[in-house]
């Protein structure tokens, strides 16, 4: 029953996407408006297919229908409800269902949002591109990653349940959907970019139309990444939240290029320049989501996240190659229309800062991509094994990250066109003192080491700049000074600053120790006293939990645990964290005690400011939402920046009095 429903859904979606693409193509070729209007019906047909497949899978999971291969392989009757729901994205085939569902949702949303303009060739080609991408993923589901294969389970069969690591924390239910909303969301601006290239309407129209789509995709991706970091912190028990794991990198790469795009697009909107670059960034972002899926879902790279090997690797790689080829060819074909007449007057200007931003993010993305695929390339070329891991990424990203912070401090105060030293000195004065104050404060509180203190200084500097802009804007416009792209963007910047500080502090000042403890024993470490109270054992439906009860400074007890799931030989730890605004104390139980009275091996990790990573993520999300609302519009007819001198051949005067806050 579920199989029939699911397969129907997949084929409905595939049919809708393929026929939609073909019909739309003929409509576009013949310029037939009545045909183009049909695209909305096709979009909803696809959404229906995706919904049907997802519902069939969820029903199968919730009713323990082990005749479905995916359920047979990945679920168990004893899996708690929340994780049964989340099992859909805990393995390859199901995660593609989530992908097509989100993609179909976006397609239907586009069709609804642009329902009055479906006959516009630009929208038509965008819908066509969306249909083609939909068709690809439904085809993946129908042929290479079919979750609805039938099996006949022996009587009384119970499945193994999802990977124990993936049923250990409720964040597992939220992190992947968020990530997919971001990942897949970039398909929409990509589709419009392709449409702009095909129709030759390469002005700024399509950019403005997809601005919010890109922003929301980026926001979801950000939240997804942060939730993933939180999950790994709460579950993996080594005190880390970011391991430069290939899958993390795969989500980080489109985030980097997407961030670069969100910035450089402003140059194009304002000055009509960087068209090729922006198109390339957008297409690269989409291509990188496909490449990331290939790297992580095909089993070519080893990683915690990589699901088992399957046949979808070559298919995804082919699709990636196709995306790259098509976009490169289109950009080459439209090259003449993409050339912009403008020029950037000075590197010390808003445009110049956006260019620097793009160089930094492009280099960052290159480093991450290189580090991720390098072992693969080396192994393919000369059969030798080589690893690139955390130490490499940390060393490379430190200077890049510090430079980005510096740029975040300087760029928001720069005017368009050109800035003078006098202007910089005036606007950067207080932000710079905020930075020095932050560094001095950190040193007084005991922070040592040049690199972390420099990071605090630059973070304070950047926060000062962002704060300056927000203060000026709210003073002028009241609460509306927090809304709009420039102001919401500054709130996002503040979130980034908070994360940067938390990251630097927790990396630099982590303390850890490991010691055996007897019942009743007290140990002091890193200014905290730990008292081991005893062990308790709990039998749950799907696992046996052994908890060590430990008091931290008399509070608690905190209960780091080890879980043995009914299936799988591994024991999975559940760390226990005491979270405070200044520092986190994480307790991990290292090995099962032989008897309730025997000593336990306890690992203690003390890291400052961890909670601010999540708070910073929340700030970034809030800032993204605020940035999506229209701010106070500048008069569309007023000149964009400095007035051009009528007569003399000198450079135009600097728009010193006209703060960038005003013109946004």
């Amino acid at each position: 029953m579920n199989i029939a429903l699911g397969v129907t859904g997949v084929f409905l979606g595939l049919l809708g996407a393929v026929s939609g693409a073909l019909v739309l193509l003929t409509g576009l070729m013949r310029r037939d408006r009545s045909v183009l209007r049909l695209s909305r019906s096709f979009a909803f047909l696809i959404l229906g297919g995706g919904l049907l497949a997802a519902i069939a899978m969820e029903v199968a999971l919730l009713t323990d229908d082990f005749t479905v291969k995916f359920v047979y392989d990945n679920s168990a009757t004893t899996t708690p409800l929340l994780f049964k729901v989340a099992t859909m994205w805990a393995a390859l085939e199901g995660s593609i269902i989530l992908w097509v569902l989100v993609l179909a949702g976006y397609t239907a949303l586009v069709a609804t949002k642009f329902r009055r303009r479906l006959t516009d060739p630009l929208v038509g080609w965008a819908m066509f591109t969306l249909f083609v991408v939909c068709a690809f993923f439904f085809l993946l589901l129908a042929v290479w990653a079919n979750p609805f294969q039938a099996v006949s389970p022996p009587p009384g069969y119970d499945g193994p349940g999802p990977n124990p690591l993936l049923q250990n924390h409720p964040l597992m239910a939220f992190h992947p959907p968020m990530l997919y909303l971001g990942y897949v969301g970039f398909t929409v601006p990509f589709a419009f970019a392709i449409a702009a290239l095909v129709t030759g309407r390469l002005g700024e129209g399509w950019l403005l139309e997809t601005r919010r789509w890109t922003l929301f995709a980026w926001g979801f991706l950000t939240v997804g990444i942060i939730l993933g970091a939180w999950w790994s912190y709460e579950v993996l028990g080594w005190g880390g939240y970011w391991a430069w794991d290939p899958v993390e990198n795969a989500s980080f790469l489109p985030w980097l290029t997407g961030t670069a795009y969100l910035h450089s697009v402003m140059v194009q909107e304002r000055r009509g320049m960087l068209r090729v670059w922006n198109l390339s960034l957008l297409c690269a972002t989409f291509a990188l989501t496909i490449l990331g899926t290939f790297l992580t879902r095909s089993g070519v790279l080893d990683s915690v996240h990589a699901f088992t090997e399957s046949g979808i690797g070559p298919v995804l790689l082919t699709f990636f190659a196709l995306v790259v080829l098509v976009t490169v060819a289109l950009i080459g074909w439209r090259g003449d229309r993409l050339r912009a007449p403008g020029r950037i007057d000075s590197p010390v200007s808003r445009e110049g800062a956006f260019l620097a931003n793009n160089v930094l993010f492009a280099v960052f993305a290159f480093v991450v991509l290189l580090g991720t695929v390098f072992p693969l390339v080396v192994e393919a070329v000369n059969q030798s094994r080589l690893s690139v891991g955390v130490p490499y990424f940390n060393r490379m990203s430190t200077p890049i990250g510090l430079t980005i912070l510096f740029l975040m401090a300087v760029a928001p105060v720069l005017p368009w066109r050109k800035a003078s030293g006098e202007l910089l000195s005036q606007r950067l004065f207080w932000p710079a003192w905020v930075g020095v104050g932050a560094a001095a404060g950190a040193v007084v509180l005991g922070a040592r080491g040049a690199v972390p203190v420099l990071a605090f200084a630059l973070a304070g500097f950047a926060a000062g700049s962002a704060g300056r802009q927000l203060v000026l804007a709210t003073r002028r416009q009241g609460w509306r000074g927090l809304v709009g792209r420039a102001n919401g963007g500054m709130i996002v910047h503040l979130g980034v600053v908070v994360i940067a500080v938390a990251f630097a502090a927790s990396q630099a000042y982590v303390r850890q120790s490991e010691f055996p403890m007897e019942v009743g024993q007290r140990v002091t470490f890193a200014g905290h006293e730990f008292e081991f109270v005893g062990v308790e054992q709990v039998e749950e439906a799907n696992r046996t939990v052994v908890r060590a009860l430990v008091r931290i400074d008399g509070a608690g007890p905190y209960a780091p645990a080890l879980n043995r799931f009914r299936f799988g030989s591994q024991t999975i730890g559940t760390p226990s964290v005491r979270m405070t605004p200044t520092e986190d104390v994480m307790l991990t139980l290292r090995a099962l005690p032989e008897s309730p009275e025997s000593p336990v091996q306890l690992r203690v990790i003390v890291q400052p400011l961890i909670v601010w990573l999540w708070i910073g993520g929340g700030l970034m999300a809030a800032g993204t939402v605020l940035a999506a609302f229209p701010g106070r519009r500048r008069d569309p007819l007023s000149p964009v920046s400095a007035p051009v001198p009528a007569m003399s051949g000198e450079a135009p005067p600097v728009a010193a009095g006209r703060s960038p806050e005003l013109v946004h």
Binding site: A243, D245, P246, L301, D302, S303, V304, A306, P341, R343, I344, D345, P347, L355, V359, A362, V363, F366, L370, F374, V378, S384, R385, L386, S387, V388, G389, P391, Y392, R395, M396, E422, S425, F429, A432, W433, V436, A439, A440, A442, V443, A447, R448, G449, A450, P452, A457, R511, Q512, S513, E514, F525, G573, L637, S638, P639, P643, A651, A655, G657
Partner: protein, 176 residues
């Protein structure tokens, strides 16, 4: 238009300028002192677990997938951590320990590729890309400078004026 812009731009106050110069000088001074204190200060002595962790972080777990020895819970990683602890207490340096593991498992066990041989590419290429990007920017700016600004001809201005007049409701229209 031009006039409106100029009135919105008061000339910067001269006395403030000197005060600010002193302020910047003070800022550099204070920051120098802060950094010096930060760089010379001592950190608390590392615990055994931290010294083991520092070495374990640089080694790849031989049997598991993409994890370091520090993070992995695999049996082999637990044994390697115990071995690192033994060797550290026996007085071996982290480099000696790494060298031992390279001789046993090969270069692939290091999570930081060495700066010689094939692994060097992973260090050199990002620098090359960064330099190329910067060079590209320099070339672009130079071209923009020599090409000169596009100057609006009187004909262009007339066009703009005409467009503005057409778009903007005239006073008369507003009254209506």
């Amino acid at each position: 238009m031009t006039g409106k812009n100029e009135t919105a731009m008061p000339p910067p106050a001269r006395p403030g300028r000197r005060v600010r110069a002193i302020g910047w000088f003070g800022l550099v001074l204070v920051f120098g002192v802060v950094l010096a204190v930060a760089a010379t200060g001592t950190r608390p002595a590392a615990t055994d677990a931290e010294r083991v962790d520092a070495v374990a972080k640089t080694l790849r777990c031989p049997t598991c997938q993409g994890e370091s020895v520090a993070v992995s819970e695999a049996l082999i990683s637990q044994e390697i951590r115990a071995d690192i602890r033994r060797r550290l207490t026996a007085g071996e340096s982290p480099d000696q320990i790494r060298a031992y593991y390279v001789s046993t498992y090969g270069e692939g066990i290091l999570l930081t590729p060495s700066a010689t041989g094939t692994g060097a590419a992973v260090w050199v290429l990002p620098v090359v890309v960064a330099v190329l990007c910067l060079a590209g920017l320099v070339v672009a700016f130079r071209r923009w400078r020599t090409r000169g600004a596009l100057r609006a001809t009187p004909a262009d201005r007339a066009l703009v004026e005409q467009a503005l007049r057409a778009d903007r409701p005239t006073d008369a229209e507003e009254v209506r």
